[in-house]
Amino acid sequence: MEHKDETIAIEGSWNLATWQWKLESIALIRKTFDTMMKEHKLLANKCPGCGLVYFMPKPYCRCLSIPDEWVEIKDTATVTTYTFTGAWAYEGISEDEVSGTPLIFAGIVFDGSDTMTVSNLEGVDPEDVSVGMRVRLKWPEEVTGSLTDLAHCVPLEE
């Protein structure tokens, strides 16, 4: 084997299944997802100590109390921040050549909750998106009880 005096790479892979996880939030999030699927509702958990409402639900509050009260929140929300995809998403095509609407992602806070969720914003041009804009969850035709159910939002006409 030829030796060069420089850094080299060696082929191989590591097995993720050798690690163990305890994911304390899963049971709570599962409950929220199941309620979305069965009752078409958004369930959040509320902290008895400071009143903060977590969506997705959280096992413990930042005030260190246990948020053990389940509350229904609305499916309308306010945009707190956003971004849209640039030219990289179009495999190197330059910006002026891009046609159609880029993917818009928004940080949103659902009405009745105090936490941020990220969702895809549809039915609006990027230049018309703004922080503070009102949106509503676009429920999928078939609710599957997963994060993908929350993946799409549209502007709210009030």
């Binding site: 005096d5 850094t7 996880w21 999030i29 599962r30 977590y54 639900p57 993917l103 992602f105 993946a151």
Partner: protein, 409 residues
């Protein structure tokens, strides 16, 4: 407040480039450590203890300080290893401050580095987010769906940039100006990575849009590099050098994780540009340093800004002006090398980002500017007090250090 006066008596930096294939981690770090020994005029035997840090996940080498001990002169000496993500180097400097300030050790060599070309930093960031990703996989979410929501540092930064622009009135033109300012400063710094002398905001504006509002020209490079600093007591520093840089204070604060909470839960940190923990850390650092009005008393700032908007955002969060004023201060020219409060004279993280080293290089630049060792990039005004900052952790930790040309009276 520290029991002992703490001062920086020497600084060493390696060459900073994208790929150092000719050296391994220990050899790269040695370049900085050796430069620091020479700058301080000491031998390895004079050092009492070491504090080191990097993000091992990025290189894929765990406990590199054990591997490097022989190379750096740390055999049979105490070694404290500190790793806090993007803030790592800042936290290592804090470690040096605590080790000397507590009175436990007199001469402490602080070492921070990253050799990104040895590994894959995106892969490394995935390991940071593994618990969150594992939770989502457990819930049956497709991995490509998780990725599409913009993971990694850019994913966090774009959301932060949008909300900062809304709250401050910062425009994309200001982002272009920040990039041009930093890359021009970097051109005067022999230890910087991306040197672009004469770069104009107009040229930055023509670079590819990665993800609104961040363009290619607004983002840091991935760098191989190392930084070493000798922390010692005020008394010893005065014997080693005519002009030591005193570390008046260090403070840090950790907030709730931003963007998505731990393991898929919600986070009440709903505005990624608020950075409450930076304001808390800065206020604490100024108080310990005896600084009453940072706007008047701070002469120079090295905020941690791998993305253009962060230079302005953290300038505000370091309490150097009112919120929303930084863009107009940039326009006034005050942040330039010859300005009233120069910002990132080193060229900043946007020009050079050896991640684990970056937050310590902010402290190092403040020290070098105070010591008057910056050559072409030495700022015009005399620097009495400077503030260094780091941002990282799970994008929730802020670290701040205040340096001065005089010990606290």
């Amino acid at each position: 407040m520290a029991k002992n006066e703490v001062a920086v008596a020497g600084v060493g930096l390696s060459k900073h480039v994208s790929k150092r294939r000719d050296v391994n981690i220990a050899e790269l770090v040695w370049e900085a450590v050796n430069a620091c020994y020479e700058d301080a005029g000491i031998k390895p035997k004079d050092v009492d203890a070491f504090a080191t840090g990097n993000m091992p996940a990025f290189e894929g080498v765990n406990m590199p300080e054990e591997w490097g001990a022989g190379h750096w002169g740390a055999y049979n000496k105490p070694v404290l290893r500190i790793t806090t993500g993007g803030t790592t180097g800042g936290s290592v400097a804090h470690g040096g401050y605590y080790l000397v300030g507590s009175g436990l050790y007199d001469m402490v060599m602080c070492i921070a580095f990253e050799k990104q070309s040895d590994g894959n930093s995106t892969m490394g960031l995935n390991t940071v987010a593994l618990a969150d990703a594992a939770a989502q996989l457990q819930l049956g979410v497709d991995p490509s769906f998780i990725a599409a929501f913009g993971g990694g540092a850019v994913g966090v930064a774009v959301y932060q940039a949008s909300s900062y622009m809304k709250s401050s009135g910062c425009t994309t033109n200001h982002l272009d100006k920040v990039a041009a300012l930093c890359r021009n400063n970097a051109a005067l710094n022999p230890y910087s990575h991306l040197k672009q002398p004469g770069l104009t905001p107009e040229e930055v504006a023509k670079t590819t849009l990665l993800q609104y509002p961040i363009r290619f020209g607004h983002v840091c490079p991935a760098t191989d590099g190392a930084c070493a600093m000798l922390f010692t007591t005020g008394e010893k520093a005065r014997k080693l050098t005519d002009k030591p840089a005193y570390v008046l204070s260090c403070a840090s604060a950790s907030d709730e994780a931003a963007l998505v909470g731990i393991a898929g839960s919600g986070t009440t940190n709903v505005d990624p540009c608020e950075q409450e923990s930076c304001k808390i850390a800065a206020a604490r650092a100024y108080e310990i340093a005896g600084i009453k009005d940072p706007r008047k008393e701070i002469d120079l700032a090295e905020p941690y800004a791998p993305f253009a908007h962060q230079l302005l955002m953290f300038y505000e969060r370091l309490l150097l002006c009112n919120e929303g004023e930084a863009p107009s201060i940039l326009d006034s020219g005050s942040m330039n090398l010859e300005g009233e409060l120069p910002v990132c004279p080193s060229g900043g993280v946007i020009s050079t980002n050896a991640i684990g080293a970056s937050a310590m290089e902010r402290v190092a630049e403040c020290a070098l500017q105070i010591m008057g060792k910056c050559g072409e990039r030495q700022v015009k005004k005399e620097v009495h007090k400077a503030v260094a900052h780091g941002w990282g952790g799970a994008v929730n930790l802020n670290v701040v250090a205040v340096l001065s040309d005089e010990p606290r009276r």
